[in-house]
């Protein structure tokens, strides 16, 4: 996380040169596959491929659902991060480990877990079914799947920011007579805003790329549940050029998000 760097350091400690060898290899490992996509693009047909009806439907659905799931992640994740970093209740480490589980779980497993929770015969789904609410095969299912896999990203990111920020300013505010809600609103949240922004961006990016849980839990239908990654997977069956073109589109969207947040963070107070 970024920390204020106001103190001058008298001695510059350089990195050993050999570090750059594996570091360069690592960078190439990430960059070369991205270049491979650029090289294999069918440029003359690129625009028709990405503006086909099914591609546009998938892109719009992906942006809509990823936005909705990011909002859910913020609404639920911010209080979760606060409770886990500042709250006083027993069993916090265990709860923390459980809540962060989707981070390391294969998304397909997440999808199966959601199926047995919100599916038509699931733990909660069977009661929703009685009420006439059906999540299966709806856009809601896509958002639920995305929120499930993305929530831990926001929580981890914000929790880290809360821990490194410390609680000194809050204590000062409290001794001056501010009530907890006021402290939270005027001191804590502005202090960890960069952490919240980067957490939200991570959650959005993870939602945008969500594939396994969506495929398992939500199904795949144009305009309803077939997001961009599902469309890419399906196009690959018949039209490799379209799959590559859509992959580039997803890379461009992801890059735009990274750049947008990077510039915001540079312009920000921290």
């Amino acid at each position: 996380m970024s920390r204020p760097r106001r103190r001058h350091r008298p001695v510059q400690v350089g990195l050993p040169r050999w570090v750059y060898v594996p570091a360069t290899l690592g960078a190439l490992f990430v960059i070369i596959p991205l270049l491979a996509i650029l090289v294999s693009i069918d440029w003359p047909n690129f625009v028709p491929l990405i503006t086909s009806e099914s591609s546009l439907a998938a892109l719009l659905l992906s942006i809509r659902t990823a936005t909705a799931s990011t909002v859910i992640c913020i609404v639920l994740g911010v209080p979760m991060a606060l409770a886990m970093s500042r709250g006083g209740f027993p069993g916090r480490p265990v709860l923390r480990a459980l809540v962060l589980l989707p981070l390391v779980l294969p998304p397909v497993v997440g999808g199966i877990a959601l199926l047995y929770t919100f599916g038509r015969q699931g733990l909660i789904g069977q009661y929703l079914e009685v009420l006439g609410l059906r999540i299966a095969f709806s856009t809601t299912a896509v958002i639920v799947a995305q929120a499930f896999v993305s929530l831990p990203f926001l929580v981890v990111s914000l929790e880290g920011a809360l821990r490194s920020a410390g609680s000194g300013y809050e204590q000062v505010a409290a001794t001056l007579g501010a009530r907890p809600t006021t402290v939270l609103r005027t001191v804590t949240m502005p202090l960890v805003l960069p952490g919240l922004v980067s957490g939200a961006v991570l959650a959005f990016a993870r939602s945008l790329g969500e594939f396994g849980a969506t495929l398992t839990f939500a199904g795949s239908l144009q305009g309803v549940t077939r997001t961009l990654p599902l469309e890419i997977y399906l196009q690959r069956e018949t039209d490799a050029d379209a799959a590559v073109a859509l992959s580039l589109l997803l890379i461009v969207v992801a890059t735009a998000i990274v750049i947008a947040t990077a510039s915001r963070r540079l312009a920000g107070p921290l």
């Binding site: 596959p33 294969p106 998304p107 397909v108 199926l115 599916g119 038509r120 015969q121 299966a136 095969f137 594939f211 396994g212 495929l215 398992t216 939500a218 199904g219 795949s220 239908l221 144009q222 549940t225 077939r226 990654p229 599902l230 997977y233 399906l234 196009q235 690959r236 069956e237 018949t238 039209d239 490799a240």
Partner: protein
């Protein structure tokens, strides 16, 4: 999920290419020798997993000293891997189109042989609670029907049947593999789905099968062929002979496959 998997596949492929590329002497010995020994890799459509696993074990028993390794996946994925240079000896496709793609890209040696046929069938929850009797019942808008997407073989077959039966389905989901369709029915998410007869047989009493006559409009024929870059063409041909021969027919028939 896909990208790490692909990276791993890529790395594994690279290692296999390096490891399997035989020195020249060995290759000529394989060509002139008649002894059926050594290792072969068979790329086979996902729907062939139970039958081919069984046939592979029989083959290894009948020909001591041989090892059959399988790569089961969607036929179109397999063709992509083969045309990208994946090392394999035999390819068995779930439809003619993908075998034609493989032949056109020059990875197949000789002419493919048809060895099985498969048709679609309706599957419902056990006991058929929605009382589905015929194909046109699936057009009921209150039913949650799941089919394959038109881009994959089972979805293409579904479209053909819809046209010939003059029934338009309004599916709630178009899955990219027939196993995903079956999964949605088995888990109770969908009321009904269109899968292959063999998938329905494999699912046993987890589903109820509702056969319908219009299924005959779309018959998927499975071709098998030895590949040009086979490291062990003799063993590869022997395996193809087993699949297309009486023993293969028997195993395939017991899984629900029709004769081609």
């Amino acid at each position: 999920m896909t990208s790490p998997a692909r990276v791993v596949t890529g790395l594994v492929t690279a290692v296999l290419v390096a490891a399997c590329a035989p020195p020249p002497q060995q290759q000529s010995r394989a060509a002139e020798g008649t002894a059926v020994t050594g290792e072969i890799t068979v790329y086979a459509a996902a729907s062939l997993q139970p039958t081919f696993t069984d046939l592979g074990e029989r083959f290894e028993r009948d020909h001591p000293g041989t090892t059959v390794t399988f790569n089961f996946a969607g036929s179109s994925s397999l063709v992509t891997q083969l045309t990208q240079g994946a090392p394999a000896d035999v390819f068995a496709s779930a439809n003619a189109e993908n075998m034609t793609k493989a032949v056109d890209s020059g990875v197949v040696s000789g002419a493919p042989a048809d060895f099985a046929a498969n048709t679609l069938t309706i599957v419902t929850a056990p006991g058929n609670p929605e009382g589905i009797q015929q194909f046109s019942d699936l057009a009921d808008p209150d039913l949650q029907v799941v089919v394959c997407a038109p881009q994959v073989p089972c979805g293409a077959a579904t479209e053909t049947i819809e046209r010939s039966a003059a029934v338009t389905l309004k599916p709630v989901s178009e899955e990219s593999s027939v196993t995903d369709v079956l999964g949605k029915v088995v888990s109770g998410q969908a009321d009904a789905g269109l899968v292959y007869v063999t998938d329905a047989a494999d699912a046993g009493d987890e589903v109820t099968e509702v056969p319908f006559p219009q299924a005959a409009a779309a018959v998927n024929v499975y071709p098998i062929a030895v590949l040009r870059n086979a490291t062990n063409p003799v063993v590869a041909q022997a395996f193809v002979d087993l699949v297309t021969g009486p023993q293969g027919r028997e195993v395939l028939a017991s899984a629900g496959f029709a004769a081609p």
